[in-house]
């Protein structure tokens, strides 16, 4: 296990370096330079201001030196300062982090609560109406745009039926119940596609396990069907499902951008969008890097968990 862990950490470190390079280069893809974007038309007239800002941002240095300076700051948690708000980007990010994590956690809970039982039922009723219905539902779940689903949920539950509370962010510290009530629709919306993925994986793994010799042996021994499925089937089938569910958590971090925008939640995704529209490039760069690192860490934890649960993986 230790060997596997080290190999995964090394692989992650290499990918992490690549991620920092991509994020560093992203800001250099801006048409013109950061300075021209900041100054606008003033850049055409004020040569001294342009040069002093170029020096301030280190743009007069070779690109590898710029990267080295930037990465040195990143390693000590300095992601720069927001151009628009004047505050450190990391402080900005941390103030929004809880919303995104809560949203992703609710979404993954919803996804697992729907996906796992639906997948089990689907496998046990293979090629029967319940299976067909579950598989069609999964296909629709994967095909509905998350922002449209969110809009329709608001239209039906908030505006037409008035069942859901107004879409207005309430901090859990201020009112936990109100917070959970208002997070339910966004969480459901974000979790739908993941529920479909988890359902498909659960069904597939259950079918695979149910075809195994040891299941046939358990049945031949005269074990009750409930024990065959519950003890021998589910236990083995759910290992990859746990992994996929964990990986979904990472993917949901990307989906939060859209859902936070639809429901007006002040999370990291909305921060990225705000920063893009405000041309606050240090905030864009810092937030994208932060989310990418979170995504990689989640994937690493899931990989390690998978190897822990299934020894064949770490021996491979």
């Amino acid at each position: 296990m230790a060997k596997y862990l080290i190999s995964r950490l090394v692989a992650m470190a290499v990918s992490l370096m690549g991620v920092t390079i991509v994020v560093f280069l992203l800001i250099r893809c801006i048409p013109g330079t950061i300075v021209e974007q900041m100054l606008g038309t003033e850049a055409l007239t004020s040569y001294e201001t342009v040069e002093s800002l170029r020096r301030y941002f280190g743009l007069d240095q070779p690109i590898h030196i710029q990267y080295a300076h930037w990465i040195r700051r990143v390693l000590v948690g300095d992601l720069g300062k927001s151009w628009r708000m004047g505050m450190p980007v990391l402080t900005f990010i941390l103030s929004r982090l809880a919303v995104t994590v809560e949203l992703a956690a609710i979404a993954i809970l919803v996804a697992a609560l729907i996906g796992v039982p639906a997948g089990i039922i689907s496998a046990l009723k293979q090629n029967r109406p319940a299976d067909n219905l579950a598989r069609m539902a999964a296909l629709f779940g994967l095909s509905i745009p998350v922002f449209w689903q969110g809009t329709m949920l608001i239209l039906v539950f908030s505006l037409a039926l008035r069942w859901a509370p107004p879409i207005e962010w309430v901090s859990p510290a201020a009112n936990l119940r109100a917070n959970l009530e208002m997070m339910l629709l966004p969480g459901f919306c974000l979790g739908t596609a993941s529920a479909a993925v988890i359902m498909r994986m659960t069904r597939s793994c259950m079918l695979d396990v149910l075809r195994q010799d040891y299941i046939r042996t358990a049945r031949a021994k005269g074990l009750a069907e409930g024990s065959v499925i519950g003890i021998h089937g589910l236990k083995n089938a759910l290992i990859p499902v746990v992994t996929v569910t964990g990986l979904q958590m990472g993917y949901l971090l990307g989906g939060t951008v859209v859902v936070e925008e639809v429901f007006g939640l002040p999370g990291l995704g909305r921060l990225v969008l705000w920063a893009i529209l405000q041309r606050d490039y240090p905030t864009v760069q810092g937030t994208v890097l932060f989310i990418a690192v979170m995504f990689m860490v989640v994937n690493l934890v899931v990989d390690i968990l998978y190897a822990y649960l299934d020894p064949r993986i770490r021996r491979a």
Binding site: R135, G254, V288
Partner: protein
């Protein structure tokens, strides 16, 4: 009925696992014809594509024609899907939207398919440091949530159709790299490749004439599923105001415009969303059906 993606852990992404009989080139058209799922997806996709191509012929109005006196009209005989805030016919904009949204998805996936597949083929065949470097670059791209990477790229390059195509292409290229690389690694050791080398065939000829034809089936299946995801990505970018320009009649942009009038004119938000869902469903059905047909034990 749709089936599953059983082996790929990154299932929220458009990864597919196809273990087609690679040594026997498969006629995809005959596979589509024999599989109900694939056939229904192909018919729906074809209808939407025809709608996009024939937009001028089948649209009742000009998509840009403003008529403020008819603004925010509910669906009626004159305007089947109603009108938007400028009095533009929504059905017309949905029909033209197919051209923009599908056009961007097709273009992005075509480039991603070409670049990703060729790099995967090349990396696996040549091996060594080329393969390692290419693999690492693709791993780095996989290290970002897909939509976030697309948003970040467009956010930096600026909104617009060409930049949306660039972003979607970059995001989906690694999937084709993986689909091409895996089978190539297995195929390059087979006797027919060794035989071709023995008779003096050059690398380019072996790649083009012998290896590529065997990869076409999984690449096409991957392409079909990726188009579905590319439509969703383009719609998401446009919805967020980062994809197609505001006046362009794309599905995502129309949905973005409809947000303000959700209570007053919900039809602006309903119909483009249905169009996106049908388009994504069509390519998902096609991809699922083809995968089932190529690997029946997954059913």
């Amino acid at each position: 009925m749709p089936s599953d993606t059983p082996l790929e852990p990154h299932a929220a992404s458009p990864s597919v696992v196809v273990t087609a009989p690679l040594s026997q080139p498969v006629s995809l058209l005959s596979l589509i014809a024999r599989n109900r799922l694939a056939l229904s997806g192909a018919i729906l996709a074809l209808l939407l594509t025809l709608m996009a191509i024939l937009a001028e012929v089948i649209s009742p109005y000009d998509p840009m024609a403003v008529n403020v006196r008819a603004a925010l009209q509910a669906p009626s005989r004159a305007n089947l899907f109603g009108t938007d805030r400028f009095g533009r016919d929504l059905l017309t904009r949905v029909v033209y939207g197919a051209r923009v949204s599908l056009g961007i998805a097709f273009a992005s996936v075509a480039v991603a398919m070409l670049v990703g597949s060729l790099l995967g083929l090349f990396g696996a065949y040549v091996g060594g440091s080329w393969d390692t470097v290419l693999g690492r670059v693709m791993d780095v791209l996989f290290s970002f949530p897909l939509l976030l990477l697309a948003i970040a790229i467009v956010g930096m390059l600026g909104p617009g159709i060409p930049n949306a195509i660039i972003a979607i292409t970059i995001v989906y290229t690694p999937f084709f790299f993986r689909v091409a690389r895996g089978p190539t690694l297995a195929e390059r050791e087979k006797e027919y490749v060794q035989a071709a080398k023995a008779v003096g065939a050059g690398s380019a000829r072996i790649l083009w004439r012998h290896l590529l034809p065997n990869l076409l089936s999984p690449i096409v299946v991957q392409g079909s599923v990726t188009i579905a995801y590319a439509i969703l990505t383009e719609a998401s970018l446009s919805y967020l105001g980062l994809g197609t320009p505001l006046l362009t009649p794309s599905w995502g942009t129309t949905l973005n415009e409809g947000r303000t009038y959700l209570q007053l004119a919900p039809w602006i938000s309903i119909f483009p969303g249905i169009a996106i869902m049908l388009a994504v469903l069509a390519f998902n059905l096609l991809g699922d059906g083809l995968r089932d047909a190529l690997d029946p034990h997954l059913k």
